[in-house]
Symmetry: T
Subunit: 154 residues, 12 copies
Amino acid sequence: MTTRVMLLNGPNLNLLGERDSQVYGSRTLEDVESAFVELAAELGVEVVTAQSNSEGVLVDRIHEARSLDGIVINPGAYAHYSYAIRDAVEAVRVPCVEVHISNIHAREDFRHRSVISAVVDGFICGCGVYGYELALRALIKRIEEKKAGPLAAS
Amino acid sequence: MTTRVMLLNGPNLNLLGERDSQVYGSRTLEDVESAFVELAAELGVEVVTAQSNSEGVLVDRIHEARSLDGIVINPGAYAHYSYAIRDAVEAVRVPCVEVHISNIHAREDFRHRSVISAVVDGFICGCGVYGYELALRALIKRIEEKKAGPLAAS
Amino acid sequence: MTTRVMLLNGPNLNLLGERDSQVYGSRTLEDVESAFVELAAELGVEVVTAQSNSEGVLVDRIHEARSLDGIVINPGAYAHYSYAIRDAVEAVRVPCVEVHISNIHAREDFRHRSVISAVVDGFICGCGVYGYELALRALIKRIEEKKAGPLAAS
Amino acid sequence: MTTRVMLLNGPNLNLLGERDSQVYGSRTLEDVESAFVELAAELGVEVVTAQSNSEGVLVDRIHEARSLDGIVINPGAYAHYSYAIRDAVEAVRVPCVEVHISNIHAREDFRHRSVISAVVDGFICGCGVYGYELALRALIKRIEEKKAGPLAAS
Amino acid sequence: MTTRVMLLNGPNLNLLGERDSQVYGSRTLEDVESAFVELAAELGVEVVTAQSNSEGVLVDRIHEARSLDGIVINPGAYAHYSYAIRDAVEAVRVPCVEVHISNIHAREDFRHRSVISAVVDGFICGCGVYGYELALRALIKRIEEKKAGPLAAS
Amino acid sequence: MTTRVMLLNGPNLNLLGERDSQVYGSRTLEDVESAFVELAAELGVEVVTAQSNSEGVLVDRIHEARSLDGIVINPGAYAHYSYAIRDAVEAVRVPCVEVHISNIHAREDFRHRSVISAVVDGFICGCGVYGYELALRALIKRIEEKKAGPLAAS
Amino acid sequence: MTTRVMLLNGPNLNLLGERDSQVYGSRTLEDVESAFVELAAELGVEVVTAQSNSEGVLVDRIHEARSLDGIVINPGAYAHYSYAIRDAVEAVRVPCVEVHISNIHAREDFRHRSVISAVVDGFICGCGVYGYELALRALIKRIEEKKAGPLAAS
Amino acid sequence: MTTRVMLLNGPNLNLLGERDSQVYGSRTLEDVESAFVELAAELGVEVVTAQSNSEGVLVDRIHEARSLDGIVINPGAYAHYSYAIRDAVEAVRVPCVEVHISNIHAREDFRHRSVISAVVDGFICGCGVYGYELALRALIKRIEEKKAGPLAAS
Amino acid sequence: MTTRVMLLNGPNLNLLGERDSQVYGSRTLEDVESAFVELAAELGVEVVTAQSNSEGVLVDRIHEARSLDGIVINPGAYAHYSYAIRDAVEAVRVPCVEVHISNIHAREDFRHRSVISAVVDGFICGCGVYGYELALRALIKRIEEKKAGPLAAS
Amino acid sequence: MTTRVMLLNGPNLNLLGERDSQVYGSRTLEDVESAFVELAAELGVEVVTAQSNSEGVLVDRIHEARSLDGIVINPGAYAHYSYAIRDAVEAVRVPCVEVHISNIHAREDFRHRSVISAVVDGFICGCGVYGYELALRALIKRIEEKKAGPLAAS
Amino acid sequence: MTTRVMLLNGPNLNLLGERDSQVYGSRTLEDVESAFVELAAELGVEVVTAQSNSEGVLVDRIHEARSLDGIVINPGAYAHYSYAIRDAVEAVRVPCVEVHISNIHAREDFRHRSVISAVVDGFICGCGVYGYELALRALIKRIEEKKAGPLAAS
Amino acid sequence: MTTRVMLLNGPNLNLLGERDSQVYGSRTLEDVESAFVELAAELGVEVVTAQSNSEGVLVDRIHEARSLDGIVINPGAYAHYSYAIRDAVEAVRVPCVEVHISNIHAREDFRHRSVISAVVDGFICGCGVYGYELALRALIKRIEEKKAGPLAAS
């Protein structure tokens, strides 16, 4: 059966390419989603994409991902305080990789900590929009391991 | 000219495969280094590998990396307090990606923060030993961008 | 005139019965709401039920409760940071009892504090889904006292 | 066999009805104990009541409760610092519900946290002396679940 | 070309005039918006008004303001934790003045800090609903300076 | 009777126009005082101006303002630690508006908090020297409300 | 009617004169009590004295003081953590002056704060055993003021 | 030789009797100084009185007290942050008693700590203006002990 | 003259052997005391044993130890907050070794710190009930050194 | 088979006997090692001793101890921050007892906490160099228990 | 043109030589100023000296130094809280070296941090009054570098 | 006998001249050592120089300095956490001056505090590489004072 994953982007990421390009680069969200879907297709994976500025909608989307095999999420600023999103990720028990475009550890204090990071399988930041590709690879690896079962742990 | 990178592992990583396998998996450091070198070769990149339990030796190695194109570093527990390693990474101005095998945000409090993370180009954790491969890809991407110069930023 | 109250559930509580059953039990939200409405009916009280994953919608619902006699709210993870919900509860000046299924004091640090708890009339946690029934009783008691006026305080 | 529970009140609760009635209401401890025993009798439960201003005596009483089925405790101000009482509750492994008359989250900072709350089965505050009745119901529910065994968890 | 600004009000401000009048005064949100529009008209400025209890909707509105010349925002309680709104204000790079009706420094501890205030151009609080008028004047001043360019800084 | 107010400037504000113009603008204190007096005259208000680098002198001036109708104060760096000035403002019970030229929330950590702000009627920052004009308007509004008495509160 | 007060000493004060004399002086508790009773007699006041190392007993004694006119208490180390004693002092609503022999602000960090001090009428420390005499005078003054009623406040 | 002491009052105490009388009472500074001088005379002690709103002047006055036998100081709000006054008191090595009219431990958080208190001989607060009289008695006691030398310590 | 020591156990240690045996082992307090007395006898030392759940009684016991040569104390949970016990240990100036059965540094945060440990001669934890034997040996060593006088320090 | 243990001393302990003898006593490291080896021989245990000022060398030594039965370690100042040593101790899963000559809880604040203590089996401090002997005894006890298996736990 | 510098001393430094000589040495301020002027003369530099106990006067003096080439300042206790002096030093943009006679890092906690140190060019402490000479040398070096311009940086 | 001192440089200082020249200047470590030795020769002092990136080697070097008269140390980033180096400096009881090239108080938060500074005789920072010369002078002064004995203290 085909592996299906969700690419979920949080608040202000719809402005990608327009917002401060020194931090976030010049590619738009559409570019990022296209590249993600393309790589996924090469690797035999289907993608559902979504973006929302609303915490509640993001929780809804994560709930929907229960019927999928994994999630790549860039929670944007919600990373720093949304325990509701954290609870959603934990509750759905679907492999999840968190990605941030910039190096959040090198920016303002409030960005150093992601309250979501403790419940995800992988965490990637500072690699620019290329981080989405790494996150996809990490997620697929994780899904494969999960399917292989506990014996195949590495 | 061939791209050359250093794979640097910190304290206790020589015990990989032996140390708690639930957290770190069953592969040895040798396995990890081999896989890293192999992938690098496929991508046309040469690798220098090193491991040390000594903070001072790690600083020395980072200094030696000035003649290379980049560093993938797993600083182990030094991540949480070694400002000397942080200074070394910052001083050599060589692209650097930090990697941790486990999800440090999901373990003891003292592991949640890496004092080195603020000066690296990319940060990856929680992806198991597969994270080394992702780190290598992220590093190469970063080296290419750097060579392309500021105009090619994305 | 019939007493009318709102039963309001916050983020991820729509997953009740599915989410980690060791913490939250095996009953669904529908089960909980039915039992609540049933007990209320026995006690001569009408109920409006609502659930949302969105902070803004929860604020809207609390505003609507101005035309009712009281609120039982399980704010889920919003309990830990939603000053908007706190302000809403405080603004509508309707008796309100906060309930949590699990004992939030025995879980992760960030769950130990509810920013809403300072403005509610009663607070109940750790009693499982049975806590909703206790909350209803506490709310009705509070409504009766309020109707009886300051002289009947006990 | 008849269910038997202890109602244990801590420091200054012997002044109930006399102490600031705006916070604690006008009923005396005797009133509260009578109402508690009465409701318990209706529910087929026997009660042992005790009050002490001494931390050590409260620890002793909790130890005695090992021969009973459960405890309802209002630890008064000891809630905020008595790790000895916390240890006693944890050691005796008897179902226990903590109750406070006032909403401790709405008062001085030092009252916001109960060091005992992490080891109790249920926690109720802000419901006035009516909270004792709710605590009794919660305790009986918990005792029933325990008797029913792990299969009946809800 | 006519200057056009947005007046954006956050959670619970739809209850203005009804909510505690000792703190917020007796005028409704409609009154406030009318007075704001009227003054703006006198000063030759057009106004778009919006209110929402939802963080995500507020982020959306701020994004829409990219086609306008400025924003007056009263973020209500979101001021104290919404890094998503902060990011939105920072991302759109449109002049923005933050206003609070009450003196947030004289109230509960959690209200003393606005996480948004670091990215706005002006900040006004404690002046009652009259603060909106001051905010409008401050915003227009800021827009004029911006149009005049760096040379006209004062 | 004519309304009379004091314009009080604290330490280092005598260097206005000379000190870092990127933060404080290029206008001198004399310019600012003149503009303030002029606007006040238009609004039928008399002004007493004063500046001092000394905390004690500022306290003295505030005491003198007991015979006036209000104070606009820019306490400069004393804002961040002078409880003596705070006490003086509170003691004289004269309407008072605090103003800062720069946005203190966007600068060094120690500037984020004004210990005086909790006892003033209005607080304005980040609006440049134009903030003095806004402060004057806010003060006059406050004086009028006070004269109108509690019934006219808005 | 004769004024009657309690002199209450807490833990380890029974060792007075024996314990480190550089800090506490060489007079025994008996000496201190005698001098206290003697001065009281001169001032027409009767004294009940008590000492206990037990927190619970001290709470009991404070409750007994409800039939007296005032309390002078040296809570010893309980000053630093006994919220039970604090609650007792607050509950009995009897004038109370707290005294410490040594200057607690000049000793170890944990002694700098008395959790009881916020609910007493007067607080004296660092005056040696002479502080008891000062406390008695302060207490009598306070009792007189209370009897004179609110009009005679000074 | 006659004992001579200084009575030193800090910022805003010149407003005594005028400032919030619920906290500070209705007597003026003049009243307080007169009563102080009168009691001192009865006890055979001469007094120099001084008041200043300026930290620097208070330091100067303390330096002048080197030619006197002791100091009673009410540092007002400077108590909470003036390390300069603390250093002055410590440097002059003259017996010193600190007094506050109100109970600083029962007011705002920032008033709970006096940075000066660690270097004084006695500390009295919460006894109203009567505290000055107690402070004088404590100071004289301390001066006598000092004159009697280390052998007479009590 | 025979060396005589006290073995003092604090709250909940009377439940030893019954309380969680994974943490505390399966031996009862009686077993522990017997083994302790037996070893002491072998080493020519007499023992007084005592246990209490009451802080005040423990203080009393420590005072009684003034006529003995040393104390081995397991203060149980009082270790974490009883400054009264700390003061008692410090006041009696008798050699004292503190012992905990479990490794308190490896358990809940509140157990990491013993407020008593700063005034004892030796501190032992994590060695199980065997720690009592080590504590006895350490205490005897300390007593011998003390008797030998300062010259024999090692 | 003979039991073999490592005695490992950290930074500055090579100065033993020379460094402040009031704190550390007058015996040299050689003396301490000899006494340790001698007692071990009596108890039928072989010892490997090592000392290093280098964190990395200490980690190496701990790794070598995998072929031994246990470790007695005095980590010196590394105790307070070396997470690398902590990780090493945890990784090798060899019984380990930590010892400090002085009572670290009674010295500077930074010495109160050992980050290593949470992963050792026993912890002893304040018993002077005699603590090494106690540590050896505790370690042997722990090794015996481990060999006896889980059934013999006490 | 002759280089001219200011030597500015803060509160309590007028007591130099009299104040605790163990910490500050036995030389008077006059001695220190003379030695400073003498060395300056040898190095061809003119000196203006000033001392004040008043924060405001120190700010005034720093403003006057705008016509000089540099400042050596010993801010005394103001170092620990005077943001007004910090702002003055930053505003005048004149080279400035801060000096403290004692090693402030080895004294009370509140002395460990100088809020001024972040805006000075050099910082020297713990070298006794000889530190003034070092500060003068450092200042002259800095002035020379500044005159030489950015090219001569070393 | 000739005075002999050690110049000890810590981690990353071997990169001097290469590392960020805006912060550290353009001179190499060799240049700095040469200038240091030269000045020392002029002042009749011999120098031993050493640099290491290893904490352990630095501790070893400090131990070797026991045969010398003093140490000038730039501990680099170890300054911020190496209690092992602190202990070494304290243990050898040799005069020691700490120097930093940049003003550590004006950089990242983690650089504001040196844990070593509390045990050195002098502390100099922000004076560029010229600070080494000042440190040498300060050290020689300190050595002379020490040789002159306590009577010559200044």
